[in-house]
């Protein structure tokens, strides 16, 4: 874990790291990655990954629209909206 890697993953995460905290964050992440490296002591070459403890196929339902139109309720809790849309700073000049 070095400064370059942390810059890349903070970009991927859309997070800005304050200069004064950078050193500590690099150190913490490095320690965490070293800690999880313990997993390499075990051979898992023939083991299928487990993504979910249930391992059941999700139950399907009939293809009937049940959702209500919540546009007004949802736009109301947005930080910025007009009658129809979420508003964000201009994207296309």
């Amino acid at each position: 874990m070095d400064k370059k890697t942390v810059t890349t993953i903070s970009y991927l995460s859309r997070l800005k790291i304050d200069d004064e905290k950078e050193e500590k964050i690099i150190e913490d992440l490095d320690n965490i990655i070293k800690f999880v490296d313990q997993l390499n002591i075990i051979d898992t070459s023939d083991v299928a990954p487990l993504t979910n403890p249930l391992e059941k196929t999700a139950k399907t339902r009939k293809d009937i629209v049940t959702a209500k139109n919540l546009k007004k309720d949802l736009l109301e809790v947005a930080p910025s909206s007009n009658d129809d849309y979420f508003l964000v700073p201009r994207v296309v000049e």
Binding site: L12, K16, I33, Q38, R61, P79, S80
Partner: protein
Amino acid sequence: MTIKYKSVKEFKEMISQKEISNKEIIQEVFNLIDDNKGLNAFITLNEENSIKKAEYFDNNPSELSLAGIPIAQKDLFCTKGLRTTCASNILNNFVPPYTATVIENLENAGCISVGKTNMDEFAMGSSNETSFFGNVHNPWGENLVPGGSSGGAAAAVAAGIVPAASGTDTGGSIRQPASLCGITGIKPTYGRISRWGMIAFASSLDQAGPMARTAEDCAILLNEMCSHDEKDTTSLDETVPNFQENLNKPLKGKKIGIVKDLDLSNLDNDVVEVFENSLKEFQSLGADLVDISLPNLALSVPTYYVVAPAECSSNLSRFDGVKFGRRSEHTKDLEELYVNTRSEGFGDEVKRRILIGSYVLSAGYYDAYYKKAQQVRRLIKNDFENAFSNVDVIMTPTTRGPAFEIGSKGNDPIQMYLEDLFTISANLAGLPALSLPNGFIDNKPIGLQIIGNFLDESSILNFAHMYQSETNWHMHTPEGIK
């Protein structure tokens, strides 16, 4: 008539015998909340609506199983019209337009949601120190952490403010604070309770559950909380048994698995002694101890700290300042809106986990970390399957020790992560697990963990209830609570 430290069962009797009105109960709850503000257990209160609902029940007595019972809801469950923050600055102003299914289930059973409890931010923490709204104090000692992440819930129940609370458990967030605050809490089998409306941290691990004074109360609540929900495709379409039915079943001949791979030698002697005394109690109730092996258990914490951050980084990408929550005021373009909103809105621990998640999921590292952890996760699950072919439940201490001082583990995230050493494996395997108080160390409570087989919450609750019928650890109350 005081309601302090009464169980759900006692509340039901008091209400049905008309010893106290529903409104008096709710008024007393809010007095207790006010008297114990210093605990910082609540983020948002729901006083007006609670009194209205209590008045309704006074005028229309109800047979519903939780009619009039005051319950504190973790601030991670969406509640329509009632602010829901997940203890994060980024949701500081969020008032959800809908209610989580599990809260709806509890409220349809008559419970009164008196307020939203404090917690670690986005449930990421084991001490409640990561909350944007400040630390919760453990009722057993002002300078002690209540555990986490359901720390406010545990503190509110331990202080006798409410008889029960909802919690969630991703790696121990119900059981660890239950242990540190001297109450009982159960995380049911993954999928028993709908996650719809629960703000997601790690979707393959998150599960809601009840926290209360007794196993019997947990059973009463669990009966109402479990349901299949079309809105959550991982919620189980299985019959929900009556969890109260088997509480008193004799334990004679039942088998308790003791994990021989678990190295207890680096725990305090006191912790080991408390644990062994509990096992003797179960033996005197007729149960037998059987050595079992969970050879990959030691890898559960590193497995968790790949899987949980990976899922967290994905789930928390929705917090971008566009559709809900708080938006940064310093945004000259869309990219800056995302970055500044997230950087100002999330606390340090949440950021740390998002970064780890982005790292283990990024190209070049995916197989080495994420896939590897999922493979080890299967081995851990297989270990449990083997063990449960021969035992009814598995017991371990819930935590490595009693509550620690606020700030004492502050600078080293790994020390904090190891706090969940005994609890994490049940989440990885999707198994139900409970913590109940089984002793004290230096006047601080500590808990016993009972892990059950898939869908077998009834056995855990049976063991826990029989233990609580013979012991009184769950009846102790802290001094200094007003």
